[in-house]
Symmetry: C2
Subunit: 91 residues, 2 copies
DNA sequence: AATCTATTTAGAAAATTTTCTAAATAGATT
DNA sequence: AATCTATTTAGAAAATTTTCTAAATAGATT
């Protein structure tokens, strides 16, 4: 886990696009890949980065692999940001 | 601006450490650099990335350069995350 | 069991990022 | 004006990331 991995995963346009795409339900690797102008292999690489970061989970069904958001990690990241909301002792 | 730049800036341990370090007030480049086991030039590079991303601002005083958090960009990032809180239409 | 379909893995090339050393800048002090 | 102090910029080397093509896997269909 670790924020390094999570923020690195979030730091790429394609990967953030994939996350947005998964907001309203799971999608197969193929469906996801078809939205991008890159090979399926490359999109598969991005999915693996998101999966390693815990931002998505996979679910096999027939010979498809469906991906969906893992919202709990989003909440962890939100929590990281709350460190910057107040809590500072003046200056 | 743009999220690409902001998330890239956040995706490095050293840079996130710098941000945490700036929570309770501004610090000079030298003070910041002294907390890391790397050259001042390298820390300066990280500061430039954070500055480009809008996460910090600089302020010259004597021959020091002080850096401080720019909280408004943190709020923008928080907003990005709210896209993943509900808003999804079942499925 | 042969083939098809969806997807990933391996390996290499290209691009980007991180770090360093050395030199440059620029304001402060002598 | 010479020097010192704090910091950045330039350029290069090393490390990491992104992308591709080709091959591998694995379940589904014929």
């Amino acid at each position: 886990m670790g924020f390094q991995e999570t923020f690195k995963a979030l730091s790429d346009d394609v990967r953030r696009e994939i996350l947005l795409m998964l907001r309203n339900g799971k999608k197969s690797a193929g469906e996801i890949a078809s939205c991008f102008d890159m090979t399926n292999a490359t999109v598969s690489y991005h999915l693996s980065i998101l999966k390693k970061a815990g931002l998505i989970t996979e679910e096999k069904e027939k010979n498809y692999i469906f991906y969906k958001l893992n919202t709990s990690v989003f909440e962890d990241v939100m929590m990281w940001f709350t460190q910057f909301k107040d809590g500072k002792k003046s200056e």
